[in-house]
Amino acid sequence: MTAARLGLPDLGVGVGLRVPHYRRLFAERPPLDFVEIISENFMGAGGRPRYHLERALETYPVVQHGVSLGIGGPDEPSATYLARLRELAALTKSPWVSDHFCWCGAGGAHLHDLLPLPFTPELVRTVADRARRIEDALGVPFALENASSYLTYKGSVLAEWEFIAEIAERANIGLLFDVNNVFVTAYNHDLDPVEFVRRVPHERIVQIHLAGHKNLGTHIIDTHDGHVIEPVWDLYRMTIERTGPVSTLIEWDDQIPEVEVLLAEAERAKAERDRALTARAAGISTLDAETLQAVRDAARAPAGTTTARSHGTRQGGPRESERGARTADSTEAAE
């Protein structure tokens, strides 16, 4: 029998570490159980990114999350990339390292996107085989996240939850379960989000992501630019009632608010988590049939919606970087 969270620790509730919050988080050290960094932002050798990483490590437990592996792409993952990721994991002591079920490029081009995979047995084998080898190469537990998606493939023969479960079992890896992505994908592809949560292998979920999104009518773009919506909180409690305590992270990557707003969102996550854990301990659920139906209804695009096109709505992160060069000529402070 597989142990809950694959035996990995529950870190509590944390937030994605983003540049606008560095100064206050490092100076004031508000209570957060952990922070998550985007691995690629810190895989360089030095400079300001490395300085800020060291401040983060002094302040909070740090978990690494990647966005550029492209595990399901046509090319094998880069050995150089994996070597740098391993070096970073050795520095951060991240209890696991994660990336996404996706592909990121082909033919030598890196598209810097989390492109959806066709859900086929061919890709189950490919991704599971690579995931095993990546975990060996990194020397730390490895997890993959369900990505949000805006298209489906005619060649897919498995449901997304079947695809995820099959790979996780074969490779014996963890899942980073993004509950907001479940909602986004369900809306965009007319799926049942409740069924999605029910069917993933709960004991393999080692971390959970929560975020906001932008609903354009015809589809949702995963912008990470606002509050978590109520139906996603419901799906989150539903997940926790099945997994038990799992490290939970608030992602906020665009229209980044003041620290207080982010901390309040993390507090909300703690409260929702506690509520779900209390219900779990009592053998009951916080979600009745009416609530679950409301979640399904919220994830159903209205019939006849025709406002197509994104009109410049940018998909959210985790894509931020801290590269904007600060020069001695500028009046900006060093941190």
Binding site: A106, A109, H110, L111, P118, A303, A308, R319
Partner: protein, 276 residues
């Protein structure tokens, strides 16, 4: 049956096309063959979401790294340049910070581009910022090690430059211009920033204490640093620098002590390796 790899190869090519895929017959046929679509979005409209994200993401990244180039060009010409760049020079690194690696050369190759020399200077400066920003941290050269070098060993000694140092000859005062352009952008000023006349200078772009500095160097000192960073031993580097700067070797020699003092204080040089 199309393999996943073949499907991805073809899809990746469509996602880098600069125009709306809904108006692209080949893309529409591809999408209808391979993608699902739904009652709200056709297959090609679904594909178009990702194409648009490709350009939004990479344009954002280039805007962040090249505000001076964008400020000189203005929005319309910047958009045209960036879309042409992304279509011609696809991103190949996992690291978005490397996206602009080819932009200075791409601008230099654009025939008919107005203010091209100024734009190349600015793009090179901004790319240098990217490079020094995350260059490895190195401890400053220990003065005791410097003092211990025997006089006779200097000619064959090689100096190791700080990885956070980049040298650039500029034809225009792009440092001051960039400062103005960024301020105008941040203040949302509508009036254009006046573009300067040429004012050649030799710059050392160097990160110290997590800030990027622009140090103006005398031409002989600049050329000597250039030769040193190219790996030449000091004796040969002096000859190269004197020839490039058009000064006598003796004249260059007179400046050495002062330059070395400045460079050591600034941390341009992090180690000295004695010849065999």
């Amino acid at each position: 049956m199309t393999s996943a790899a073949e499907l991805q190869q073809r899809m990746a090519a469509f996602l880098r096309r600069p125009r709306d895929l809904a108006k692209d017959e080949e893309a529409r046929r591809f999408a209808e063959t391979h993608l699902g679509g739904n009652a709200r979005l056709s297959p090609v409209e679904q594909l178009e979401i990702y194409r648009e994200q490709f350009f939004l993401r990479h344009t954002d990244s280039l805007v962040e790294d090249f505000p001076g180039v964008g400020g000189i060009l203005g929005q319309a010409a910047w958009d045209e340049l960036v879309w042409a760049y992304l279509a011609t020079v696809p991103p190949t690194s996992y690291d978005l910070a490397e996206l602009g690696v080819g932009l200075p050369d791409f601008i230099a190759s654009r025939e008919g581009l107005e203010r091209r020399e100024l734009l190349v200077d600015m793009a090179t400066l901004e790319w240098n910022h990217v490079l020094v920003f995350s260059a490895p941290d190195r401890a400053r050269l220990d003065p005791a090690k410097l003092a211990s070098v025997p006089e006779r060993a200097w000619e064959r000694a090689r100096l190791e430059p700080d990885p956070g140092l980049r040298l650039q000859r500029v034809r225009y005062p792009v440092v001051a211009l960039r400062r103005e352009l960024v301020a105008a952008r941040d203040d949302e000023r509508s009036e254009p920033v006046p573009l300067p006349e040429p004012l050649p200078a030799c710059l050392a772009v160097h990160r110290r204490e997590r800030l990027i500095h622009h140090d103006v160097l005398e031409a002989p000192a600049f050329e000597l640093l250039r030769a040193i960073t190219a790996g030449e031993p000091l004796g040969r580097a002096c000859e190269t620098a004197a020839a490039r700067a058009g000064v006598a070797l003796e004249e260059l020699g007179r400046g050495l002590e002062g330059w070395f003092g400045d460079w050591a204080a600034r941390g341009y040089v992090v180690d000295v390796m004695l010849g065999d």
